[in-house]
């Protein structure tokens, strides 16, 4: 059953075509890894799903709601599609706990006690229960990103969108974030991940999509595609990221 449906979805920035009539169905439980050279449209594709970028043509339906349906519907989509950013974007004036409790409080209307309890459980899950009272500036990049994952999960989304979640991290800090993501995939979360971590794609991904010039040029099983790249361009790309 597909939860995200791209229907000839296009996105232009002025004259620049970033997404060119993309057709794509993502099913519940899939872990889709998006790769491609910079400017190929992978981040834009991700950001169109929750309407952070407005699509310019075609349609995009997320959990039965079109991103073009209106502001209110867009907020419903965003509640069902959690997002994790390359730059973490934790709210700096709030502690880790407050960051995670914020969504349930202000979006889902949970009580303070309820939100707190849930936030502590999520921090536990990402291994940061003891950092609950710390501010983002007091945490390492890897810890911040794990808090950001917990913050997105707190709204209880059906889908998680990851926009290069480990690109801003030192190699030794990437692993702790990837571990949390792997765990999430094992629990059956539907995930769309823009990344250059090919090991993660191979182990965790159920599907690999290679984008070029705003189009999907390869779409297949990660292991097959990585081991036998069907195009010269992808072969070349894989050599550069590994």
């Amino acid at each position: 059953m597909s939860i995200i449906e791209f229907r000839k979805t296009s996105k232009h920035f002025g004259d620049l075509k970033v997404l060119d009539e993309v057709d794509l169905d993502i099913d519940v439980g899939e872990v889709v890894v998006l790769i491609g050279p910079s400017g190929s449209g992978k981040s834009t594709l991700l950001r169109c799903i929750n309407g952070l970028e407005q699509i310019s043509g075609g349609d995009l339906v997320m959990d039965g709601i079109s991103v073009r349906a209106g502001k209110k519907q867009l907020r419903l989509i965003r509640q069902e599609a959690g997002m994790v950013f390359q730059q973490f974007n934790l709210f700096p004036q709030m502690t880790a706990l407050e960051n995670v409790a914020f969504g349930p409080r202000k979006v889902r209307g949970a009580s303070a006690a309820e939100a707190r309890k849930q936030a502590l459980a999520l921090l536990e899950k990402v291994g940061l229960r003891e950092k609950a009272g710390h501010y983002p500036a007091e945490l390492s990049g890897g810890q911040q990103q794990r808090v950001a994952i917990a913050r997105a999960l707190a709204v209880r989304p059906k889908v998680m969108l990851f926009d290069e979640p480990t690109s801003a991290l030192d190699p030794e800090l990437k692993q702790e974030v990837l571990t949390v993501m792997r765990q999430l995939a094992q629990e059956g979360m539907t995930m769309v991940v823009v990344t250059h971590e090919m090991a993660f794609a191979k182990q965790v991904g159920t599907r690999l999509i290679f984008m070029e010039h705003g189009k999907i040029s390869v779409d297949g099983n990660p292991r097959d595609v990585i081991e036998n790249p069907p195009s010269e361009r992808l072969k070349d790309f894989l050599q550069h990221v590994e």
Partner: protein, 218 residues
Amino acid sequence: MQTDWSVVLTFLPQLIAGAKITVQITVIGLLGGLILGTVAGLMRAYGGRVLNAVAFAYVELIRGTPIVVQVMFLYFAMPVLTGLRVDPMSAAVLAIIVNAGAYIAEIVRGAFLSISKGLSEAGLALGLPQWKVLVYILGPLAFRRLIPPLGNQFIVSLKDTSLFIVIGVGELTRTGQEIMAANFRAVEIWTAVAIIYLVLTGTMSVALRMIEKRMRIL
């Protein structure tokens, strides 16, 4: 040249009364200016084309004309145009509101726009409406960044009240002028007036610095 500092003591009650009026104009004017400036600044930063244009026109109009001309306009020209007479005190307060509001609008706009776009996106991505992102996420951050430039504007506005001498408001400078006209004790009186201004602006600086210290700027 002989100075006689005892005249300062003689006229101190009058000077204090003038200073009170100065403080009154400043405080009410700045409170109003803060509200007007915040609204105009947010219109500049987040308003649609129309709201943005209205706020832009206001800011440019006020920044582009001297405050003396603004208060003269309010006090002398407005009654002719609208038939509504205002007393000098109201004209003075109104002038500070309108004038400080324009500068504060730019301060507010700058503070909000200086906050990384990513934080706003993070709030929106959780499913919050834009206004909640402004109130709960950007507002508290922008407020911290507002304090230093706002302190500057508060001091400027306090000193600007001295220009209302032109419409005859009995504030501190006007009071000094009147005392001086009667006894010609220029050195003593203007020294005293200057010191009172320094005490007022100094108090403001200290208060703002204390607020600043309490809040980490993020």
